[in-house]
């Protein structure tokens, strides 16, 4: 028990030893301590999905996650999605479909879509819409986003 917590976070395949105040969120630590600003700060209350990251492959909201309880879990942020300088297929599909718009919500959407495709490789349009229920786009351009993700499953 202390007013600072020492924790080792496993982020995008690398370990980061940190000492943080218990009330600081994973979002704070990613953006302010690790300078990984691809994870966006939106509502800070779990409503918008801009700060979505994957924890053990499952989408969670980094604005509501405390680092102290994430020791040893595999955390993936948008910085860990592309590999070898190549965009992830989800990112490529979003670009090809002209779906990225202002881009603010895209980090969260890419991670939510990546998690969906990993357990449902050919999602229906409805399954994509359900999975993206956590993510708000203020440009409100969901149609091309959904089309892009569905296209990766080879379904019309």
């Amino acid at each position: 028990m202390s007013d600072k917590v020492s924790v080792s976070l496993h982020i995008n395949g690398k370990d980061h030893a940190l000492t943080v105040a218990p009330e600081r969120t994973l979002l704070d630590v990613l953006r302010e301590d690790l300078r990984a600003t691809g994870t966006r700060r939106g509502c800070d209350e779990g409503s918008c999905g801009a700060c979505t990251v994957l924890v053990d492959g499952v989408p969670v909201l980094s604005c509501l996650s405390l680092p102290a309880r994430l020791a040893g879990r595999a955390i993936t942020t948008i910085e860990g999605v592309e590999a070898g300088g190549e965009l992830h297929p989800v990112q490529r599909a979003l670009v090809q479909h002209g779906a990225v718009q202002c881009g603010f919500c895209m980090s969260g959407i890419v991670l939510a879509a990546k998690a969906l495709l990993e357990h449902t490789p050919s999602p229906t349009e409805d399954e994509v819409r359900q999975a993206l229920g956590s993510n708000v786009c203020r440009c409100s351009g969901y149609v091309r986003v959904v089309q892009a993700i569905v296209s990766l499953g080879g379904r019309p």
Partner: protein, 282 residues
């Protein structure tokens, strides 16, 4: 702010009873949001993530125990929640949105006692009981007795919700949850959880609970009784709906006026009964 990770319920109770302004950290979906907004600043966070028994699901002859730290995602995927118990699975699979369901827990949802959210509504519909641990040992009480007001439970200082029991319920019954909201990830304007059993075309058992229409889930015995023995015809549904609407104390807010919510109750009740009835034939 201090932070502790007890490894057992007993250790957790000791921390809670010796610290004036300690708060339990479950999924964090509501507590961390409130901390971010500066609405609460606990002196100590007692994380419940390292207490294995709180994440356990145990099957008993007469029902299923769900650990307080089970997430809504886990509950939504629990295939043993069928028949009458399915009302809990149905609500857990629909409430909020996927990322929240991945984080938020049964115990967190129940102890927050937010009148707008739906798991408490489904737990009341299923006649669930809550197990509470305290310095004097453990006790169980009906979920209705735990939920005393908007954002207020009957838990005493130093007590901890450990698990909830979902009884198997009436033979041949179907449990179902229906929510009405502007978009699927928002809080519902009105929600209905119910358990229904039929004998042929007559209702043998009904337990209907309404959410977002008062400080606690709304259950009216007379409305259930108005349905039992009937063929669930339009007049029966309208009269049961009228009894519920009359007892409701909804708020006027951005999701709907109180009057609109009262109008919705009988309409949603008809839809929920007809969907549940279909399931009783499966």
């Amino acid at each position: 702010m201090r932070y502790a990770e007890p490894g057992s319920v007993e250790e957790g109770l000791a921390l809670l009873s010796t610290t004036e302004d300690a708060r339990c950290l479950a999924g964090g979906a509501s507590l961390v949001a409130m901390m971010n907004a500066g609405r609460v600043a606990p002196g100590m966070l007692v994380s419940l993530h390292h207490i294995p028994e709180l994440s356990t699901i145990t099957e008993a002859a007469d029902g299923l125990w769900l650990g307080a730290m089970c997430t809504h995602r886990t509950v939504a995927a629990e295939a043993r929640l069928r028949g009458a118990m399915e009302v809990v699975r149905s609500a857990a699979s629909q409430l909020a949105h996927p990322a929240i369901r991945n984080m938020a827990t049964v115990g967190g949802s129940l102890c927050l006692a937010d009148p707008q959210t739906e798991l408490p509504v489904a737990l009341v519909a299923s006649s669930a009981r809550a197990e509470v641990a305290g310095s004097a040992g453990r006790r169980t009480l009906p979920v209705e007795a735990l939920l005393v007001d908007s954002f207020r439970t009957s838990l005493a200082r130093g007590e901890l919700l450990t698990r909830v029991f979902i009884p198997r319920g009436v033979d041949g019954a179907a449990g179902h949850h229906l929510r009405f909201s502007r978009v699927s990830s928002d809080y519902p304007t009105v929600s209905i959880s119910l358990v229904l059993a039929m004998d042929g075309d007559r209702c043998r058992h009904a337990r209907v609970v309404v959410g977002s229409c008062g400080p606690v889930p709304l259950h009216v015995d007379a409305a259930d009784q108005r349905l039992v023995g009937t063929r669930l015809e339009a007049a029966d549904v309208a009269e049961a709906g009228r009894l519920l609407a009359q007892a409701a104390a909804p708020l006027d807010d951005v999701r709907g006026s109180a009057e609109y919510r009262r109008m919705l109750i009988p309409r949603l009740l008809g839809r929920a009964l007809s969907q549940a009835r279909e399931r009783t034939h499966v």
